[in-house]
Point group: C2
Chain length 103, copies 2
C-alpha cells in the first residue's frame, strides 16, 4: 500500500507502514491540528471525510472525559460499526486514524 | 457487587452480573431512551454523569458514521483514557455502559 503524501518525517512513515502491514487495516490517515489529512493511504475524499468526523468526535470524547474527571485525557477512541472499525489516537499536534475491516 | 436499581427484567440483570464478574469492570450502567440511568452498579452521581456524556457521544459517533456511510451503524464505542476505559453499546431503547479499570 502506497503512502500518498508525506510531510511527516521517517518516524511517522514507519509507524504507518507497520500499521498498514496488518491485513485488516484498510488505510491510515494522519490529521494535522487544522483538521486536514496530512498523510494517508486512503483516497482523498474518504480521508477528508474521516478526518473531519473522527477529529470532531475525538475532541468531543476528550471534553466529555474531562467533564467526568478534569485530570483525565483520551488515549484511544475505537468505533466498531456494522461495516468497519475505526481507531483514533489523538495527540497535541496530530491525530492518527486507522480504518479497519470488521473481524 | 449489588445492582442498585432494576426495572429491566432478568435478562438485563444477568448480562450486567456477567459483565460485573470481570475483575476489571468498575461498574455498569443501563441508560434509557431519555438519557437517565435505569440500572447501575455505580453511585448515582457517577452514573448520571457517565449516562449524559456517553449517550451524547454515542449519538455523535453514530451520526458521524452515517455521514460517512448512510447504511452503517454504531455497534460499540470504546474510550480508553489515562485513568479508565469505557465501553458503550447503543441500542434503540437502551445504552449499556461499562466502566473499566485500565489494564
Amino acid at each position: 500500500m502506497e503512502i500518498a503524501q508525506n510531510f511527516m518525517g521517517p518516524g511517522a512513515t514507519k509507524t504507518m507502514a507497520r500499521i498498514n502491514e496488518n491485513g485488516n487495516v484498510v488505510g491510515t490517515i494522519i490529521v494535522n491540528c487544522e483538521g486536514f489529512p496530512e498523510t494517508t493511504t486512503l483516497d482523498s475524499l474518504t480521508a477528508a471525510t474521516y478526518s473531519t468526523h473522527m477529529r470532531n468526535l475525538s475532541h468531543h470524547a476528550n471534553n466529555s472525559l474531562k467533564e467526568i474527571d478534569v485530570t483525565d485525557e483520551l488515549v484511544v477512541l475505537r468505533l466498531v460499526s456494522r461495516k468497519t472499525e475505526a481507531v483514533v489516537t489523538p495527540d497535541h499536534e496530530f491525530h492518527l486514524i486507522a480504518v479497519m475491516r470488521r473481524t
